[in-house]
Amino acid sequence: MPNSFWGLARKNLRRNLKRNLTTGSAIAFGFAGIILLGAYSNRVDNYIRVYTIYAAHTGHVALFAKNGLDKFGFEPKKHSFSKQRQLEIEGLLKNDSRVEMFEPRFSGVGLISNGCKSIPFSAVGIDPQIEEKLMIHPEVKRWTPQIESIKKGVKLVDAVKISSVAVVSITQKVASALGKEKVKTEFDTGAAVKVVDCESSVALPQSDASVQFLGNSWQGGMAALDADVVSIFSTGFDETDFSAIRMPLSVLQSFYDTERVAGYSVWLKEASQLKSFIQTFSAALNGPSLAPEPIDLIPWYDESLSPYYAGTIQFLNAMVGFVSSVLALVVLFSVLNSTTLTVLERTSEIGMYRSIGFRKRQIQTLFIQESIWLSGFSLGIGLISGFVFVEMINRMKIVYHPPGASGGLQLVLVANVSAIFVWAVVLLLLTIWSTRFSVVNKLKWQISDLLGGSGR
């Protein structure tokens, strides 16, 4: 019994059932499409975010000497931290309850050789203990479980315990280029390092895990280092996989003959504290009791620090925003078309409502409540459909190859609940607005014209 407008509105939906089903389908599938798109965007965003912050050792905040991010590669001495400054910074970081962990940043370039062939390398010095913590971090487990930094061999944290010489982790592409695809643990522990005869037809570089490094010492001379390849890893990107290597920070510092570091990567317990951390830590570092050395604190998402993240997300947001807007417009015009036709067909009914005493606002409310029923039901169907599609796609284990990524990635969709809520509200409001638009225009008519009985 329609003892309220809601009941009357619900019953009225039975009229023009085909049209209402069509409109409802447009809303439901539009919403499901937005859920899928949002799930893809959410997954990619979080994947790249976690990769950038944890797997790439960027941290939530990167701390550099003034202009160090841009100029450390050219003038490392000028744009790096002295030991004294490192102690000051590390003291502050250790005493800051917001900080989960931190790691000195240090990198360098040079040549890596198998004795016969040399190629350029770009080395990152890492703290093996921090590497270990990062790989088992809950965020990494949740969003990038398929990233296995180590494809083969042992982690640096374990390797330093078993090797008597310097240890290094190289990428698959560097390993292929040098013929060093076997790691230290795949050779007999007592086997002697062989002298390579580069003229020999025998592939001698493959007979051991030894590689040699050559570079410029920070003190002005040449730097050289023998090391064992203990693991093969991937950066996840083709471009960097051609030259990337990782070695313990202390080994890399020793190679360049310096105690200085380029900066720090800082991971926070709560990412939401990022802005306040940057503000307060910057002030603390430049406090009166410390040396007046200016520093830069750069958030992880800054384009200068994480160009891949920033570029990808900008593109993704533009694409998702465009497609979502198109879907929302399709829904809007479907609803507008449907409500316009419905209101047109029910003109004399509106006249009847007016003539038996319904006020304009009450008729408007009645039609809006019909729309709320329709869109609410359709959004419910769309929500269920969206989640079913997400689950189906995840179970299909589709592997795709994003541009620039080394190897394939499984297409995993993760629905974004807050975005779904926002879009549901947006679609509901669009539906209400389009209904109101149609009804309000009709209610401007004289009642006699609505009834069609005036003779005009």
């Binding site: 003892n3 038996i356 005493g357 009642i447 006699s448 005036s454």
Partner: protein, 244 residues
């Protein structure tokens, strides 16, 4: 003054020099020309005229669903020109009942729910129980209790018009306006509908004013107002008898 038994001396509707014109392109058509009319409580009146004579326009003006260009329309002592749109809505809801030629029932609602419609927005009906009582009384008055849960498509034409009459009566109006209520009905059913309206007029003392061009119905009605080309040219009713 009315001298008919059962008819109040005080008019519930009064029209003074009411004019209504429409513009059709370049042509201005005057549908009602200086109409003067009084309707008293309890009257049963037919407005008779050919198609296009201005019957519907006059009913619309009296029912506050159209506005006169000039003249004064007074309903229950209120000049309708002074009323806001919401006040007119309340007036239609509480003082006036409408019966349409094509019934205008909501197809997805049953008899009970259709009759209940005007009460959903009636501010004087305070409880669901009172609303229920009024709906059942109106349905009982038009003898449709046996089909109370039938939808319009399950009813005959005559039954549908009875539902429309019950809906018009549910708000307990003092005036019921019916625009050609028998136009879509066969003669036998038309006769029954007129009988029903007469019975309700006598039982409930509700004023009825209905338009028709069916000459056969004239003998059943005590007061007949003829309208021709927008002019009220003859009135056989009690007001006429009293010389007003």
């Amino acid at each position: 003054m009315s001298n008919r038994p059962g008819v109040s001396a005080v008019p519930i509707i009064e029209l003074k020099n009411v004019v209504k014109s429409y513009r059709l392109g370049e042509v201005v058509i005057t549908a009602v020309k200086k109409a003067n009319l009084q309707l008293h409580l309890g009257e049963f009146t037919a407005l008779i005229g050919a198609s296009g004579s201005g019957k519907s326009t006059l009913l619309n003006i009296i029912g506050c669903i159209d506005q006169a260009d000039s003249g004064i329309v007074t309903i229950g002592g209120s000049d309708v020109k002074q009323l806001s749109d919401n006040e007119k809505s309340d007036l239609r809801n509480q003082k006036i009942g409408f019966i349409f030629q094509n019934f205008n029932l909501i197809p997805v609602l049953d008899v009970y729910e259709n009759v209940e419609l005007p009460l959903l927005v009636n501010g004087t009906v305070e409880s669901a129980r009172e609303r229920n009582d009024r709906v059942l009384e109106a349905i009982n008055d038009v003898e449709l209790s046996s089909v109370i849960h039938h939808r319009p498509d399950q009813l005959s034409g005559g039954q549908r018009q009875r539902v429309a009459i019950a809906r018009a009566l549910a708000g307990r109006p003092s005036l019921v306006l019916a625009d050609e209520p028998t136009a879509n009905l066969d003669s036998e059913t038309s006769s029954k509908i007129i009988d029903l309206m007469i019975a309700l007029n006598e039982k409930k003392k509700v004023t009825f004013l209905f338009s028709t061009h069916d000459e056969r119905l004239m003998s059943r009605v005590k007061r007949i107002i003829h309208i021709k080309d927008g002019l009220l040219d003859s009135d056989s009713g009690p007001a006429h008898e009293s010389g007003t």
